[in-house]
């Protein structure tokens, strides 16, 4: 919204601060001047304003002038417009408010013999032309310019009808279902029974508070005019405007609450401008009010205000005295409130201010004591309050799972994965592909796009999109993870769960001039998963997979290069190579490893508490076993056989190497098993070691391995 300081100053004689200072003082009181553009010698400045929606009363010149008057304690010039005495009318112009729940006031003034044309100089000089030129507001016809001027001056919408096009008097009513109206924008509209219209006795003339009608608009041929200045209910206007997809200056104001008392003033202002080109007023102003609305706006009950409450909420000021009765009285009076002292309700509050405050008709946002307290703080100046700190309360409580989330994050970071934040949404197709519980995907009612049609049931779609984004930009080494919420359930009840998604492609994270990188493989990713899981106290944790035909492996994973993670009897995640079908569909030629861990299940387990064990002082002895195995026997079988030996001195065993060569049978592979023996209390003797070795050989042989010779 644009404001001229020259126009403001016309309401504020005695305003001595310059435009820059005025801009700053207004801004610090919440009447924000976003831009201040000097217009040249003697023309003042143009302010670009940004006023919050609750202060619709200040979205015009007079409203801002009122704020300035309050800030500087200056008198504000009253809005009064002298009109020539009307010529008598045979009978008052008929006005009836049928929709008493939607229209609070309707004023109608009849002007006859007017000349529609260029706006002339007006009684107080040439403000219309001067102000409009500075505002770059186009001059159109005097009837239109007049309503625009009243809008810019005082924020009251008005409308001028060509009186000769009206059939009978005015009725403010609800539209009839299917009734038609061509509005000023040239659009033929079919009305709804909820629409509020200004009508004559035969037809709808205008969408009340939103837009006038085409057939009754002012033209250069118009001789007789009816000036409407009214007050419509915010909700009624809002509904009508919404239904017709219209947002006009008028609807903006009425939706946020106009000033019930401004209608006759604005009517006089519009009439004065129009009559400068000739013509006369016929009859007195017809003014119909709905009492119920008056009680809710212009004649609201006074509200109580206590100085003690002002101080309780606002606290200390830089000035040691704090907010006093004089400040409260001064600020509220300047804003248009009426203050009457009232005796204190309780003896202990005596000596402090207690008021009954009447509220100005233009400030519908003021309803409660707290609203008045805010006004006092605002006009006094927020930055004049002290900076204090409240006394320290109770102890700080961390979220129960915050530590667990941090543990997962730290493992992923240490493994060289960058943290990413992906979209909360995915396409319905990706949702169906990745939902851990088939079919439980929640669609949005107004999605941002088709690709974002559902709430993500998994972090996999977002992860795939981000990996593809990197690979398509020739960033070949990708390691990403995301800690985020995934959504299940239905549109009746949405369930949210924390999840960890990760993806990797390219080489392992080593930045080196001397060593070449190694392409990342399944077991690199499995290692990261194991490390994440190792942060929790796991019972019965294992990895498994299912044959493709079982249909149990998620469709986004390669059925034979993927693993399910099970802990405590529950699936806690899946990971592996992206299914070649999905890779092809996304035009990914590199091997992409991807997975997801269901953190809600992981968080059920306590974090692992490290427990120190005595380090043996005796020499460990390593023995290697070169085994040959059938391809059908996985490492897990050997691993389990070793565990079941229960030899306390067998402190560690691991795969040292896995290889295949032509000297082995066709479906065989070789595995070098390394075992470490160590006792807590002695050096192991050769005979003991020989016995252990024999037991290991026996166990792995039973498991299906043969010793390589």
């Amino acid at each position: 919204m644009k404001i001229l300081t020259q126009w403001l100053r016309s309401y504020l004689s005695g305003l001595s601060v310059d435009d820059a200072q005025l801009a700053e003082d207004l801004t610090l009181r919440g009447i924000a001047v976003e831009g201040n553009y000097p217009l040249g010698e003697g023309r003042g400045s143009l302010y670009e304003m940004d006023i919050t929606t609750n202060r619709v009363d200040a979205m015009n010149h007079y409203g801002i002038a009122r704020e300035a008057a309050a800030i500087y304690g200056l008198p504000l010039k009253p809005l009064e417009f002298a009109l020539l005495a009307p010529r008598p009318a045979a009978s008052p112009f008929p006005v009836r408010i049928e929709a008493e729940d939607a229209c609070g006031r309707f004023t109608a003034r009849v002007l006859r013999g007017v000349t529609i044309g260029e706006s002339r100089d007006w009684f107080a000089g040439a403000e219309v032309a001067t102000y409009f030129a500075l505002l770059e507001q186009k001059m159109i016809l005097n009837a239109v310019d007049a309503t625009n001027f009243a809008w810019l001056a005082m924020g009251q919408p008005t409308h001028a009808f060509d009186l000769d096009k009206l059939e009978g008097g005015i009725i403010v009513r609800r539209a009839r279902m299917g009734e038609r109206l061509k509005t000023l924008d040239g659009v033929d509209r079919v009305l709804d029974a909820d629409d509020l219209v200004v009508a004559d006795h035969r037809k709808a003339l205008a969408l009340a508070g939103v837009m006038g009608g085409w057939d009754t608009m002012i033209t250069p041929e118009t001789k007789n005019v009816l000036i409407e200045a009214a007050w419509f209910d915010p909700m009624a206007v809002r509904q009508t405007a919404r239904r017709h997809g219209l947002h006009t200056d008028a609807s903006h104001r009425f939706e946020r609450g106009a000033d019930l008392n401004a209608a006759p003033v604005a009517s006089a202002l519009v009439s004065a401008i129009l009559l400068a080109n000739g013509g006369w007023i016929e009859g007195e102003l017809v003014d119909v009010c709905v009492a119920a609305f008056e009680e809710r706006t212009a004649r609201r009950k006074p509200i109580g205000l206590a100085l003690s409450e002002v101080r309780r909420i606002l606290g200390k000021t830089d000035d040691e005295e704090g907010i006093g009765a004089a400040t409260v009285g001064g600020v509220l009076t300047a804003l248009g409130c009426g203050l009457a002292s009232q005796p204190p309700a309780a003896p202990q509050t005596s000596g402090q201010g207690m008021w009954k405050v009447t509220l100005p008709s233009w400030r519908l946002d003021l309803e409660r004591e707290i609203d008045l307290i805010e006004e006092v703080a605002r006009v006094y100046g927020y930055n004049r309050f002290a900076n204090t700190l409240p006394a320290f309360g109770e102890g700080v409580k961390a979220l129960p799972w915050a530590e667990k989330e941090a543990a997962s994050r730290s493992v992923m970071l240490a493994a060289g994965f960058n943290e990413a934040i992906g979209s909360t949404f995915c396409s319905a197709a990706d949702g169906a592909l990745t939902a851990p519980q088939p079919g439980l995907v929640v669609p949005l009612g107004n999605p941002l796009s088709e690709e974002a049609g559902v709430l993500r049931p998994s972090l996999v779609p977002g992860m795939l999109a981000m990996i593809a984004g990197n690979l398509n930009r020739d960033v070949d080494d990708v390691r990403l993870f995301e800690l985020g919420t995934v959504f299940g359930g239905t549109t009746e009840k949405v369930e949210e769960r924390p999840s960890l998604g990760f993806g990797a492609a390219g080489s392992l994270p080593v930045e080196s001039a001397l060593h070449t990188g190694r392409v990342i493989d399944f077991h690199d990713v499995k290692g990261v998963v194991e490390q994440v899981l190792a942060k929790s106290e796991m019972r019965g944790m294992y990895f498994d997979r299912f044959p493709a035909e079982a249909g149990l492996t998620p469709e986004w994973l390669h059925p034979y290069r993927a693993a399910r993670v099970v802990a405590d009897g529950a699936t806690v995640g899946w990971f592996g190579l992206l299914h070649p079908r999905e890779a092809a569909a996304r035009k990914l030629r590199q091997a992409v490893f991807i997975g997801e861990l269901y953190l809600d299940r992981l968080y059920k387990m306590p974090l692992r508490k490290p427990v120190a064990r005595e380090i043996s002082r005796y020499q460990p002895v390593r023995r290697d076993f070169s085994l040959v195995l059938d391809e059908s026997i996985p490492w897990e079988t050997i691993d389990r056989a070793m565990a079941e030996l229960h030899i306390p001195e067998l402190v560690e065993w691991r795969v040292r190497e896995v290889f295949r060569d032509e000297r082995l049978g066709k479906s065989e592979y070789a595995l070098l098993l390394g075992a470490t023996f160590q006792a807590q209390d002695r050096t192991l003797r050769e005979e003991e070691l020989q016995a252990f070795q024999a037991r290991v050989v026996e166990a792995v042989s039973k498991a299906g391995a043969r010793l390589r010779v």
Binding site: T27, L28, T52, T53, R238, R256, I313, L314, G315, T317, R368, E374, A377, Y382, F385, A386, N387, T388, P390, F392, G393, E394, G395, V396, K397, A398, R409, M412, L413, A414, N418, E419, A420, I421, S423, T424, V442, L444, G445, N446, L448, M466, I467, G469, R473, V475, R479, L480, F481, G484, T485, F487, T491, V494, E496, P509, V510, E511, A513, L514
Partner: protein, 364 residues
């Protein structure tokens, strides 16, 4: 350095012993000339794998009883020799020329095990939360899919209120048949967690709420339909507007440096009154005016205010202690993206959500 083992001794007659020990003595002298003190000590006198240890282990132990005395004496002599030679070995050391031959290019970059980078949003959120944790604030969270009641109604956005227009909302499908307050939507701010917390816990409350929020906004350089907020709420007896000012002034100084100044402007939020926008003096130019602050010297950073009595009235339905006549409180909220973008010089908000390794890697 692997030690060459001592030869196996099969005969223990005097001649064989003489030959074997003489060879070792010659070896010791030659080593003393070529080796530095420490390698010499390790090779000969090392506790576990030193040659003397091996002699004692293998020769002395293996010697038949009649030869034990002779072996023992010769061992003692050899040991004294080695100990004496150790002193001499210290002086000489390897020549500069021999060391120079081992030179490497130390200016080649070090081999780094690359660690991942925490997301700048996570990092910024953690920084903000830490500042308030030090002021006694606990962390609270809430669901990202909310009901109309928690997101709007109890935050004093009545049905049909124009303030709802300022927060274009993404809604869950198929909600039309439900009563308005039960309809599901993606929370447009972290404020609903204020109410969820108050319903659970009587005053005093001091929480800080980091979280993801969504709005149906068109994306541009500074707007994204996905973004993050940190919300704060402090409720107790005698919490004042000046406490709000002091708290945020302290927090901004903790986040951006002690020279930062704050400035409070009246603003409007349905759930606070009085409401304020907070600006900090420009962290780029120190308040002199620059491109980043549009020459104003100030940067707008957060919204805040005293908790509106209407919000307390909703809380009091479940926790009667939220009586606006007896307690008071303040709330504040800030956009994490804006702060992260400022702190780390990020120009496009979209880059925060694209998962580009080149972008994310900068925050390691």
């Amino acid at each position: 350095m692997a030690n060459e083992a001592i030869p196996n001794l099969t005969a223990f007659d005097e001649a064989a012993l003489e030959k074997a020990f003489t060879a070792l003595e010659a070896q010791a002298r030659s080593d003393a000339a070529s080796l530095e003190k420490e390698p010499f000590r390790l090779k000969w006198l090392g506790r576990k794998q030193g040659l003397l240890n091996e002699v004692s282990d293998q020769w002395l132990k293996a010697a038949p009883p009649e030869a034990k005395k002779s072996v023992g004496q010769r061992f003692k002599t050899l040991k004294e020799l080695a100990e004496g030679l150790l002193e001499q070995a210290s002086g000489a050391g390897p020549t500069d020329a021999s060391l120079k031959a081992e030179a490497i290019d130390i200016t080649l970059p070090g081999t780094q095990r690359l660690t991942g980078a925490e997301h700048p949003i996570t990092r910024t959120m953690n920084e903000i939360v830490a500042v308030f944790a030090a002021l006694g604030y606990s962390v609270g969270v809430g669901p990202e899919v909310e009901t109309d009641f928690y997101n709007f109604e109890c935050m004093n956005f009545p049905p049909g209120h124009p303030a709802r227009d300022t927060q274009d909302t993404l809604v869950v499908a198929n909600q039309e048949r439900k009563p308005l307050r039960d309809r599901l939507l993606l929370r447009t701010h972290t404020s609903p967690v204020q109410m969820r917390t108050m319903e659970q816990q009587p005053p005093p409350v001091r929480i800080v709420i980091p979280g993801k929020v969504h709005r149906n906004d068109a994306a541009d350089a500074t707007h994204s339909p996905i973004f993050h907020q940190v919300e704060g709420l402090c409720v107790d007896t005698n919490i004042t507007f000046s406490d709000l000012k002091g708290t945020l002034d302290h927090a901004m100084k903790a986040l951006f440096g002690s020279s930062v100044k704050t400035r409070f402007f009246p603003s409007f939020f349905p759930f606070t009154e009085p409401s304020a926008d907070v600006q900090i003096s420009c962290i780029f130019c120190g308040g002199k005016g620059c491109r980043k602050c549009k020459d104003s010297g100030w940067i707008e950073l957060l919204g805040c205010g005293m908790v509106d009595p209407a919000v307390f009235a909703f809380a009091a339905e479940k926790q009667p202690a939220y009586d606006a006549k007896k307690i008071s409180g303040f709330a504040f909220g800030m956009g994490v993206e804006r702060i992260a973008m400022m702190k780390y010089g990020i120009s496009e908000i979209g880059s925060l959500f694209a998962g580009d390794m080149r972008f994310l890697g900068q925050f390691a």
